[in-house]
């Protein structure tokens, strides 16, 4: 059996890679993909704990997280499409309408 804290460390690595992506990149789609990576890292943590204590709650939560991430992806991409229609760019630094 693989010790649970190895899975937790893997999840931490993936989460920080996602954080790096969100903080560093300017392409909106890449930021969105880094957010999905962070959500998946958290899923891995839930499953690691679920296996450690033989509880089903972690599994059910991951199930719901997947459903909600699907909804979030659809709406987020729709927002990006409408941003692209208005500004012809997907660069999030250009989406600065709140200051002139």
């Amino acid at each position: 059996m693989i010790p649970t804290h190895w899975f937790l460390i893997l999840s931490a690595i993936l989460f920080s890679i996602g954080v790096c992506g969100v903080l560093t990149r300017r392409n909106g789609i890449t930021i969105f993909m880094s957010i999905e990576l962070m959500v998946n890292a958290v899923n891995l943590t839930f499953l690691a704990y679920a296996r450690q204590f033989h509880q089903l709650h972690g599994l059910i939560f991951v199930f719901f997280v997947m459903a909600i991430a699907a909804a979030e992806a659809a709406v987020g991409l729709a927002i990006f499409i409408s941003l692209f229609h208005h500004r012809e760019t997907i660069d999030v630094d250009e989406a600065n309408l709140m200051h002139w």
Binding site: A12, S16, V19, G21, H54, L59, I90
Partner: protein, 183 residues
């Protein structure tokens, strides 16, 4: 020594697929072409699905591939390809913020790994098999968690309606389109 062999196999699979997940996650974040980023994310999701199988949750592993790698990433690829986003380059205009971003996430990673390694070491796993098959999950979903289940379906409906409304052009621009085509 079959028992030692299956131990070794499990560790080998863990290391191989953990490396694949980390490498392709780095490619998502660092590659400048979003199409390659999306495809690397698919590979990372697949490697994570293997991790879920190692965590004795095969149902969720299959769901991960079906939902994330098979549906959400296809949606990403559609948007990237239809909006023709792959030819944009990002000019490096904010080096200080980028450097701060890299260092902050590196510090975050180091502190997380250190504290997890120090404090999150658990004892033995409970005896018996982990009952994570479709039947037990289904029973739990429809008995204890039936309210969130129904709420998620309404949420998905709201997401569909929201996505349709947000991504359609307004009625004014829709009226202009025939004149653009005819000239």
């Amino acid at each position: 020594m079959p028992h030692a062999l299956s131990y070794m196999l499990e560790y080998l699979i863990f290391f191989v697929f953990a490396t694949i997940a980390v490498v392709f996650a780095l490619m998502v974040v660092l590659h400048r072409n979003p199409v390659i980023g999306a495809l690397s994310l698919v590979v990372a999701f697949f490697a994570l699905a293997v991790m879920y199988v190692l965590l004795e949750a095969p149902f969720l592993a299959a769901l991960q591939v079906i939902v994330y790698a098979g549906a959400i990433m296809v949606l990403f690829l559609f948007v990237i390809m239809l909006l023709n986003l792959q030819h944009r380059t990002e000019e490096a205009t904010r080096p200080v913020q980028q450097f701060l971003g890299f260092t902050t996430s590196a510090a975050f990673l180091i502190s997380l790994v250190y504290y997890i390694g120090k404090y999150a070491v658990f004892g033995k796993l409970p005896d018996g098999r982990f009952a994570s098959d479709a039947r037990t999950i289904g029973i739990r979903l429809f008995e204890a968690y039936v309210f969130p289940f129904e709420m998620v379906s309404i949420l998905l409906l709201a997401a569909i309606v929201g996505a349709l409304l947000l991504s359609s052009r307004g009625a004014a621009t829709r009226a202009e389109i025939p004149t653009e085509v005819s000239e």
